[in-house]
Amino acid sequence: MAFRRLLPLIVLGMCQIGSAQSPTYGVGRSPTADEIRAWDISISPTGQELPPGRGTAKEGGQLYIQKGCAGCHGRTGSGSQAPTLIRSDGTTKSSMPCLVPCVNDNNVLALHSPFATVMWDYINRGMPIGKEGTLQPDEVYALTAFLLYKNGVIHEDDVMDAHSLPEVAMPNRNGFSLPPEEWKHGTPRLQGYPKPPQ
């Protein structure tokens, strides 16, 4: 009987009524600052979320072997089962940079992005396969530096860190267009495309 009288209070307690919930429906809770930090792995092109740390191509070259990258991507970074990371001709200063999704040997992953932050982000969140999220910031900076150097984008002794990485002059750094931010309900993708029917 006593338990029955207490039950509503217990249930209320379990629902964590308090200021931390959503205002209209009173569900959910506020994440702690630590929770947000632990989950937020997004890296803006500005690099604002990049953590402290540093790395060079030389360090990255050693990690490329130690961390098992070469096992799937090949010792030279191309011609193996996993996608190409380093062009076999060693250069990316192409007059025709690729800006469409490219996953073949002629096009190096993430090198078409105007910002090197994309490369850092992907290595950080997605590599090595089966051990994603285990690389330390220094290691990610070093591996990024190694791939940028091997693809002819930076010098061997350039240090990659939270300040230098967003500044890297990627091959497609200028002259790119983004998908439209001003998307609107009930609007065609591109006015007049491909042409009005005859």
């Binding site: 959910g28 800006l99 994603e132 267009s177 998307w183």
Partner: protein, 400 residues
Amino acid sequence: MLHRFSSAFTRVVSRYSGASCSTSDTPQKKLKELIAYGERSRYVTSMRVPVAERMSPDMFGLTFHVTTPLQDQFGIITPSSLFYVATHRGSYVPEIDPAEHRLMIHGMVDRPLIFTMDELKRLPFVTRVHFVECAGNRAQPRHTTVQETHGLTSCAEWTGVPLSLLLREAGVQSGASWIVAEGAEEVKGASSLPLAKVMDDCLVAYGMNGEPLRPQQGFPLRLIVPGFEGIHQIKYLRRIKVVDRYYMTYDDYGHINADPRAAALALQIGPKSVITFPSGGQRLPCAGFYEISGLAWSGAGAIRSVEISTDGGQQWHDAELRSPAYPMAHTRFGFHWEWDGKACVLMSRCTDELGTVQPMRADVAKYWNEPPEKSRVRGNDNTVQPWKVMSDGSVLNGLS
């Protein structure tokens, strides 16, 4: 209670074990099918097939792209077991305990929030029918069936919470213009989406065709972005970050382009249709009456009309819509056709509620001032698919 149920279950099992009905199935399997979870007839063998360009599972055990057998389907709903699969880089299917799963909303919001699955299910929900199509759904001349040319699109009934509701609870700050949505799978696939779209009609879905989402479709939680390319429909949704710019994630950078017109085609899918019967690899046994059947859909809204040509695009006739035409959903069309037994080319083209007409390949090439054989359709390929009916009744891909 559980004990009572299980002893009743055992009694039923023993009854079926003694049955004289001849079957190769074990009694347990038969009982599961009869009582617990039904299966299709053993005479129905329609199957998904991995895309030829990259095998699934691959050498790492990762699944990449798997096509749905459109040629075998009726109506507009793709059975969950046959729904096409595409993954961010090739993925394992994560086994997520829904009791442990969380959705976090943070970034440029007044009140960052974190929800359990149970909490999300307490909130107002909507149920809507939407297609999901991969931008890699591109017909090639070497493809022989509609499963190969168009099998990376599927349509389901989705149930979930409008993302706009969750974002209003969190309080979006002024200056915000995009979100980044992210999954919980090992590669944590992420995508940038315009805030305007998100506030318009995106769903945080936990239900699919009346059941919880299937693991290959993002169990326990998936973002549905109606009419946008499949890569944006983040599976295993765990995080929404409200931001003030395009974040250019690994999955985003393929959508940027030197030409602003091409970039404009990168998010939403244009009006598209395909005849599923008769289609490549099928055979008409003789001249006579056949009901042409197919699917039409558009990322911009509902399908308004579908036309059929039986002479390679010279004359077009109105087809009938044979299903509800929901916005951003597969819509079934039909057309009475008397085949005279002569070789011909069948085509369908649709018009969506904005009046945009599905283009021919040649129209697209002309727009870009390129020779048709060298032109690549920017954005999702929504061009007209020709099927060549030969005088012996066989049906071939009409692309060259």
